[in-house]
């Protein structure tokens, strides 16, 4: 279990993180951490791994594996030496490491130096070392930034299958919300160093949107029925919150009759994030 109690981090006079609440993360939880640039996401990871001084209390496992935004290694040695040195093992004799290297298709890069690797290969080297540790808590800080769509999808699938049925806690910082939708069961929203909300994705969706949301690719002028609520969505979209399945069906039928193209979602991180930030909640609107 990971407990973070009122963590506060300052960089000089700048308050980088002031959570203002307690967060508890349990085994098997995969927590997506989202927020704009400079919101305090990476600072939270740094506090967890003692890279920055903080006030408050953190109860954490003894072993934490971390993938940072930037992961640099000595450029004088090849990747095999880095793997063997940092994981304290011999590659030839370690079947688990060999399997992991094969899993990430990294065998051909073992004799290359770190500086000779592409962005995706560099990421994979760190991911191999992070996953190999099988730590009770693993933090991924923007692990897919700079990777093309296909590599990103492959990476997510591999991470998902690696952690299937493992009692690990994972913190996943990313700006790609589809990665969270694919991997995470909980969400932590941070803005300007403050925790906006934390909880199960399904619960947060229910709180900020409702049973489901119907997304219509039309900026305005969508008329449905009397009993509906428009929630915040991306620019160029109208997002209609549904109270339950029959309400959803009723609105979809109506939109179809009007000739609108629409899609339905029950776990859109984007909608949770936008509405959590703008403070539009079902409770507040009273509907």
């Amino acid at each position: 279990m990971l407990e973070m109690k009122h963590i506060k981090v300052n960089y000089g006079n700048f308050v980088a993180l002031d959570m203002g609440c307690d967060i508890t993360i349990l085994e098997h939880d995969i927590v997506g951490i989202i927020g704009s640039n400079g919101a305090g996401k990476s600072t939270l990871i740094k506090a967890l791994t003692n890279q920055v001084a903080y006030s408050g209390e953190i109860n954490k496992p003894n072993h934490i594996a971390v993938h940072l935004q930037e992961n640099n290694y000595p450029t004088t040695v090849n990747c095999r030496t880095i793997l063997e040195g940092l994981l304290q093992t011999s590659y030839r004799k370690n079947q688990r490491l060999i399997e992991l290297v094969k899993f990430f298709d990294f065998e051909k890069n073992l004799n290359q130096k770190f500086s000779q690797l592409s962005g995706g290969q560099k990421q994979r080297l760190t991911i191999i070392m992070v996953l190999y540790q099988d730590a009770p808590l693993t933090c991924f800080d923007e692990l897919s930034t700079g990777l093309d769509f296909e590599t990103r999808c492959n990476l997510m699938n591999k991470i998902k299958s690696w952690y299937a049925n493992k009692p690990a806690m994972i913190l996943l910082i990313t700006h790609y919300f589809d990665e969270i939708e694919k991997l995470a069961n909980k969400l932590l929203i941070i803005d300007h160093g403050r925790v906006i909300d934390y909880g199960r994705i399904t619960t947060l969706f229910e709180k900020y949107i409702g049973y489901s949301a119907i997304i219509v690719d039309c900026p305005e002028g969508v008329t449905v029925l009397n009993d509906y609520q428009i929630v915040r969505g991306e620019q160029g979209q109208t997002v209609i919150a549904c109270k339950n399945k029959s309400h959803q069906q009723q609105i979809v039928n109506h939109l179809n009759q009007q000739g609108y193209l629409c899609s339905v979602t029950q776990n859109s991180i984007n909608l949770i994030y936008l509405n959590a930030l703008s403070g539009i909640t079902k409770e507040r609107s009273g509907q």
């Binding site: 506060k8 300052n10 308050v15 001084a53 992961n71 040695v77 040195g85 994981l87």
Partner: protein, 255 residues
């Protein structure tokens, strides 16, 4: 720990600067500066002088310049912190780096001795002189290692660390007479005496083939004082790091 040492050994060997400055340069300078004359006694004296003068350049070249620069670069690039996050703590890094440098310095010293004893007209070294060489080189390596780490910890930024490392490398090499002799002001000369390069040279030349420990006290005293000074500097650098971190924690608590 063995895997860390292996990793650091490969890492240090990978720094071509270290191998050139600490490995090749002393050997090349010793061979290149030797000129045979018809007088065998003068030849032997010249060979002994070159051997003894350039021997301390091995730990100086292998430790001060490449290690300080490499450590400064690793710190600036976040490599040191990245390795810490893999459980390879700073203390473990320091021990593994030192052991690897220690092994390399001794290997290079063996190559240096074997090559020069074979090429130059040098008499065979006594067992005591050989023990003196390897013990002195080891103490110098440890002292210079602590000094290198101190520089890398106190100064901020890769370029500044590189500059300071160069000043120390060339400063020690020139002022101790390892790269030519100069007439220095008496104050500087008396300070330089405590960097025990010159006393080591003189003792080695004087006790080349002897088996007596007498007259070595002065060299050992200066070696130990030099080591003590670098230990103090190292502790001060550690305290400086601790105080810097502690102050930032304190500022958060006050706020």
């Amino acid at each position: 720990m063995w895997h860390y040492i292996k990793f650091e050994l490969k890492n240090t060997v990978g720094y071509s600067l270290a191998m050139i400055v600490g490995g090749l340069l002393p050997l090349m300078l010793a061979i290149g500066n030797y000129h045979a004359t018809p007088d065998p006694i003068a030849n032997q004296a010249l060979a002994k002088g070159l051997f003894a003068t350039l021997l301390p350049m091995i730990p100086l070249g292998l430790v001060i310049l490449p290690f300080t620069i490499a450590f400064g670069r690793d710190t600036t690039d976040g490599v040191t912190d990245r390795l810490v996050l893999f459980g390879y703590s700073l203390a473990k890094q320091l021990i593994a780096k030192f052991v690897s440098v220690f092994i390399l310095v001794n290997i290079i010293t063996v190559i240096y001795c074997l090559t020069l004893l074979h090429i130059l007209p040098l008499p065979n070294l006594s067992i005591l002189s050989m023990i003196n060489i390897f013990t002195s080189i080891s103490i110098l390596s440890l002292s210079l290692y602590l000094l290198a780490f101190t520089i890398a910890q106190v100064f901020q930024g890769f370029h500044l660390i590189q500059g300071v490392a160069m000043v120390f490398y060339f400063g020690i090499a020139f002022l101790t007479g390892s790269m030519g002799t100069f007439q220095l002001p008496s104050t500087i000369e008396s300070v330089m005496q405590w960097i025990p390069f010159s006393i080591f040279r003189e003792t080695l030349k004087a006790h080349w083939a002897t088996g007596f420990l007498s007259d070595m006290q002065s060299q050992w005293f200066k070696m130990i004082v030099f080591l003590f000074i670098t230990v103090v500097l190292f502790c001060l650098a550690q305290y400086y790091r601790y105080a810097k971190r502690h102050m930032s924690s304190l500022r958060i608590l006050i706020k």
